[in-house]
Amino acid sequence: MTRLRNRTPGAIIAMATGVSLLGLVPLGYVVVTAIATGAPALSALVFRPRVAELLANTAALVLITVPLCALVGVAAAWLVERTRLAGGRAFAILLVVPLAIPAFVNSYGWVSAVPSLNGLWSGVLVAGLSYFPLVYLPTVAALRRLDPAVEESARSLGLSPFGVFLRVVLPQLRLPILGGSLIIGLHLLSEYGAFAMIRFDTFTTAIVDQFRSTFNGPAANALAGVLVLCCLFLLVGESGARGGARYARIGSGSARPAGRSRLGLWSPVAYLFLGVLVALSVAVPFASVARWLVSGGFAAWSDRYLLTALGQTIGYGLVGAVVTCLLAFPIAFLAVRFPGRVARVLESINYVTSSLPGLVTALAFVTVAIRLVPALYQTASLVIVVYLLMFLPRAIVNLRSGLAQVPPGLEEAARSLGRHPLVAFSTVTLKFVMPSALAGSSLVFLGIVTELTSTLLLAPNGTRTLAIQFWSRVNDVDYVGAAPYASLMILLSLPVTYLLFARSRSERAAVNSL
């Protein structure tokens, strides 16, 4: 019995390794094409003014937007969780809603409202409003988990409420802030639609332009290589900033919620801040979509592809979510039951891969499919593979926390009662893991529903997802025709967003996996 439990199951290792090897394809592709292009040609493509321009744009975007998002996200989280503002709960929900609005739909909303938006600061505005919840949400979750006794101790040591926030709360929020900032940085690097619409050129928009002009030419690949370096730079930077710190809550603590401050004369300022934030991030895009929906009337809904697009989007979303969750399972299982170097390597490969822009992953698989596996080329299966690699960590993170919560003795108890190990596993463990599996799948579903760039590259002939149709309408400046697609994407995303909100308020972590 003991031997059986301690032996790493070969089949599971094989599956996990298979998925992780697949995850090496995009990085391998970038390296191989770089080598194939050759140093002189590559340096001609990389060391040119245009790349410097793109690098400056992209760096400025990240350096301005990320701190801004962190500031806004933490301030909003503190106001909602730690002050006695009336209507805090309503704000708590409204501040998550931007996650249900894909960045390119938000951009569409803003361009509709202010047509002259363009350039860096517009990019900062639109991206900031789309992404600040990625800091806000984990910060809320962390604030709720902090031991209030620690803050009280600081008070009794003579610190004012603000001093407590600065010296005790903020340092303990370092991990969620860093984690959220990293995800925002990666989103900024890989977003295409939102920036294309406001004419702000980043590496990703330039790669798409190159793709439009040359399919997967060497210039696109060279840019992709630089973009991948930017991503790796962010990953390394974040893990460096995180250091070895782990701020475990010491001791059991009580379930007592933390105290809330009275804002007194500052209340109007707080309301103004939250009000403006919600107005800009939720009201503006919603109002724009509503405006185009109204001016389109019922006619806009008779678009012949609307139902097809809805069906295909849901289909891709569901299949992608189920496949991703199934293939994430072996990796999560190894990480929880057989922690060690093998499990760690397999897991981190997938984190790195999913941090790469979907565009790069898609480019890699288009090329690999054409050259090596023509049977997969332009098939729905290939699209699912790329979705899998893009969104795998969302499933892994959730499955891990689910598996970790399974009481370890339970499965053994079932086996000692005469159940075959497999039966014991499926009757006991799976039942416990189902909620996490559902949460993970929902997040994957959300990702797929709002995925645009790599779907554009990979989709089989005749595919029309909501995002593709939306984008095609917007490109024809048919804002009215785009509105039904925008509203359907938001509607599909809202329930998952609510799930995220609910999880941020429960003890479960894993909000940080977007």
């Binding site: 620690v150 008070r155 009794s156 010491i250």
Partner: protein, 358 residues
């Protein structure tokens, strides 16, 4: 607003007058009158839900009373129109789990409350404080999660003492420790506080802690103070049965009072003029001494027969029949092996405490 920032330890008196606190519609504390003399140690003991933590939070300034006033030293810190928050009270506070800052080292934790001008020689101050709570200065650079529970509590105390508070509040600081560690940590903490001469209030649900730690014990029940006094007074002369039970094991006997004498199966066990008729006589187990009956030798005392004996390790629980009526349960030391059917004599030491029958 009163700024209370003591630079040297000046122990202060705590006086609570008519303090009440409600949460929503529920009254948690009601008309609490308590004074803690300068430099003394008072233990507030009560079962969970009795309101003891709330009482401590009112003292520390994390919460404010709805009624009554709280005075610390010369200052009213809470009362009608006054609500001085925790960071302006100059009151030390040690939480249940120590509540050390997880992102700081032990040394940084201890130095956290030091004023800016004290920063210069802060490593010396930190070493001194750690020494005060009997901690190895080598721990200075450790993280809190690398310490044992007892060490964490002592760091928390050192951290609170760094502010040189006139009053120290301890919120069940030993309850999360193992039994053995609990007693030793308690002794170290108590010694450190005595040495510093700080006025201390400790909250606990542990009766051993209540009786050993403080100069004064206050029993809190359902939001009211049931009894306040020295540990001896409370243990030996509880004013009601619940307090008596709360502070130690009891042996209860049905009794009858008449003509100033209280009579029970063990004979006349107390004198009482205020009661008449049926009542309850209470002994602490250590007041009852039993000896195996040696035939022919009159050892004195009441003869009883052992109806049941249950081995419990260091003690054994005997069920005794006196004159054919069963029901007296008595824990005795395990040294002597009693068998069912043995006859014993019971002697009493001191008087019983008598309560009206309920």
């Amino acid at each position: 607003m009163n700024e209370i920032e003591p630079r040297t330890i000046e122990p202060r008196t705590i006086v609570m007058t008519g303090v009440g606190k409600r949460y929503g519609g529920t009254s948690v504390l009601e008309s609490i009158d308590l004074s803690v003399p300068t430099g003394s140690k008072t233990v507030i003991v009560g079962s969970s839900g009795s309101g003891k933590t709330t009482l401590l939070r009112l003292l520390s300034g994390f919460d404010f009373p709805d009624a009554g006033t709280i005075r610390i030293g010369a200052d009213i810190v809470a009362g009608p129109g006054v609500a001085i928050p925790a960071h302006r009270r100059g009151v030390g506070h040690v939480a249940q789990d120590g509540a050390l800052f997880p992102h700081l080292t032990v040394g940084q934790n201890v130095a956290f409350g030091l004023d800016r001008h004290e920063r210069g020689d802060r490593s010396a101050i930190v070493a001194e404080l750690l020494d005060l709570v009997s901690l190895d200065p080598a721990l200075t650079s450790r993280r809190p999660d690398e310490l044992s529970g007892g060490q964490q509590q002592r760091v928390a105390l050192a951290r609170a003492m760094a502010r040189k508070p006139g009053v120290m509040l301890l919120d069940e600081p030993f309850s999360s420790l193992d039994t053995g560690l609990r007693a030793s940590t308690r002794e170290l903490v108590s010694a450190a506080l005595t040495a510093a001469g700080i006025t201390t209030v400790l909250v606990t649900h542990d009766r051993a802690e209540a009786l050993t730690f403080g100069d004064q014990v206050a029993v809190l029940r359902d939001g009211r103070l049931a009894q306040v006094g020295t540990p001896t007074a409370l243990y030996c002369s509880p004013t009601d049965l619940a307090t008596a039970r709360f502070l130690g094991d009891v042996v209860l006997l049905e009794a009858n009072a008449s003509a100033g004498q209280v009579r029970c199966p063990l004979g006349v066990v107390a004198r009482c003029t205020s009661l008449n008729g049926g009542c309850t006589a209470l002994f602490r187990p250590e007041q009852l001494v039993i000896d195996l009956l040696v035939p022919g030798v009159d050892a004195g005392g009441i003869v009883a027969r052992i109806a049941a004996a249950e081995f419990q390790g260091s003690s054994q629980l005997l069920t005794l029949e006196i004159a054919g009526t069963s029901g007296l349960e008595l824990p005795v030391a395990s040294g002597i092996h009693y068998r069912v059917g043995d006859e014993v004599t019971i002697r009493t030491i001191g008087d019983a405490i008598v309560f009206p029958a309920n």
